[in-house]
Symmetry: C2
Subunit: 370 residues, 2 copies
């Protein structure tokens, strides 16, 4: 630890130095060699649309220019896709960036935020950064517990309620009707952050229609998952214009990289490729489940681009499987909170990566069983 700077605000001085997610590159530096399969960050090894790849190559020589700070064309295309106005869409450096901005805009120090125990650490990181009071509700049957979240928001007079659907890290989901009931039941003082990073891979009927007339709900989408361009750092928020345009008051107007902006637009325009990628992801989920079953482990149903695998014992067992898998150069992760942390979490990917998983996971499980 360094001596804290005397220039930090009292709050900043108190903030922990922890990072939400250790990257695979940090593991690799520790291992001293690269991973052979990268199945831990819920990226998509299937990659983006060939049109997005072509757009990136075309844009390389023009990368001396800043991106359009209004993200005009991208917002317009997103708005058209969802049947909303341009003012109902704002763009950020991934959903992560937008979550931070949301809190900057809406959360006063000490106000309460409700989320699920074991849900998105990066969101919690931003809540801490904005001096929020975080109240956590346990998962129930490996799903975010909608009625308990709602009860807690009411009891705590929460300013913000966070839910992801489908959720990370379990890959579980609620039908649109359940989310609509959650929205209908919100206390009037509570803003719902509905993180739909994984909605593109979910079964039909998972995402409720977008209602930009409802000022209490913000929806978050990303190009990092099914669209296959995590490196581009492009996410977006959809909601009532009075709140969504307010992001312009605090966002880094020149924060979006030019290639990301352009390739997201190209990817959005290729919905056929997206459907193809989603089909590949679904097949990869099935294969991961089969590989797990072959090791005597049980995959949970997943609506995402990853599969949570119940290792059937305690956190120590799951941790041993994780460590043995990493030691065999396959990058995976596991949930951080009980009882979810009896599981490991494996991202979908192309066959070559899953071939390696099929080779390594049985060895890792055997080693963990000792």
């Amino acid at each position: 630890m360094k001596t804290p700077s005397r220039f930090l605000t009292p709050h900043a001085a108190e903030l922990p130095a922890t990072v939400p997610f250790v990257g695979p590159e940090a593991h690799q530096r520790k291992l001293g060699r690269p991973f052979k399969a990268r199945l831990g960050a819920n990226e998509s090894g299937f990659g983006p649309s060939p049109r997005a790849i072509a757009a990136m190559h075309e844009s390389v020589p023009k990368n001396w220019m800043y991106a359009d700070p209004e993200n005009y064309e991208l917002r317009e295309a997103i708005a058209a896709l969802h049947g909303v106005g341009n003012d109902n869409v704002n763009i950020g450096e991934g959903i992560d960036g937008l979550l931070g901005l949301t809190l900057a805009l809406t959360l006063s120090p000490g106000e309460t935020v409700v989320t699920s125990e074991g849900a998105y650490p990066t969101f919690n990181f931003h809540v801490a950064g904005h001096a929020g009071r975080l109240v956590k509700v346990p998962y129930r049957d490996d799903r975010e517990d909608i009625s308990a979240l709602l009860d807690t928001a009411r009891r705590e007079q929460a300013k913000i309620l966070y839910i992801s659907n489908p959720d990370n890290p379990m890959g579980s989901w609620w039908a649109a009707e359940a989310i609509e009931q959650l929205i209908d039941g919100l206390p009037s003082e509570t803003l719902l952050i509905l993180d739909e990073a994984y909605c593109d891979t979910a079964p039909p009927g998972t995402t409720p229609p977008i209602d930009i007339g409802n000022p209490q709900v913000l929806r978050y989408r990303t190009f990092s998952k099914a669209y296959g361009m995590a490196g581009a750092r492009i996410g977006y928020v959809i909601g009532e214009a009075g709140l969504v345009t307010a992001f312009d008051k605090v966002r880094n107007h020149y924060g979006i990289n030019r290639l990301g902006q352009i390739c997201a637009l190209a990817a959005l325009r290729d919905q056929d490729y997206l459907a193809e990628a989603v089909a590949r992801i679904a097949r990869a989920r099935d294969r991961i489940a089969a590989i797990a079953a072959g090791c005597g482990l049980s995959a949970l149903p997943s609506a995402t681009n990853f599969v949570a695998i119940d290792c059937g014992r305690d956190v120590d067992f799951a941790r041993r499987i994780l460590a043995e898998t990493l030691a065999r150069d396959v990058f995976i992760r596991m949930p951080g909170a009980a009882p979810l942390n009896r599981c490991i979490r494996i991202s979908t990917g192309p066959d070559a990566e899953l071939d390696l998983l099929a080779e390594v996971l049985p060895e890792a499980v055997a080693a963990a069983r000792g």
Copy 2:
């Protein structure tokens, strides 16, 4: 104007909706056609190193992966270039992003920030976002007034003092000794933000040696100017480790795009190309000055990749020249505050763009003279 959302904090509700810089794309949408020369955003039409371009092309197929959230290799290379430790460097989405994070870490609401009247609007935007009290000091002889800035910081017990060297929008600069005197004279409670976005194009002796032992100074650098990759959105901050590592408490760890991270590293490793680009920029400055002189206007000396041109009359005259130039499809800008706004500001660029400027500026000046 939209109805403000009731979920905004009282401070956010009060924030103005103004944006720091209208992008050239917004002008183009208004004009209904693209600019033929883009000489207004202080980008570099000379582009980045061919090695950076090659690195981007190579990275395109791998853009399905997040960037290393620790920016490890890039930080290491920057640290080596400057002879400091990895912990003395942090990376952000351009200097803009780092300025916002600096204020998030160090500025409590109501604390005072001193800057120059007419200096960087994006910095002022972030000060407003963090509820700072902004005190502005006039330029003197078209330079930031170091002794007045220091006197004001002392009088106002400023938490933060901002200066850019070389400065934007005038292109003027101080010798390193003057900056060192500023640093030595800082009140103990004041943190100096030393924005060196344009240092690569400045004469030798402009940037003081980096002293990471001094906890009162943060230095900001970018790949957007002389390095020629504004679209990549990569800036960095250098300083005492206790403050620089604290950025990890609040930054968007996965906010950096992968191609930007990788091409910045490639560009940094090609210092020969940087020297070549700087020479081209210097030649372009001379040519812009000659073009201005041909119109009866007087270029100010510049240490940056742009030239401020004194139009010799009032703001209305400068505005007319600006409008007439834009109407002829050449994008330039002008300073926003008196007395700087008697000038227009033209970025350097390749010969083809300056050829067009040479054609258009005399017409624009003639039209403005009426």
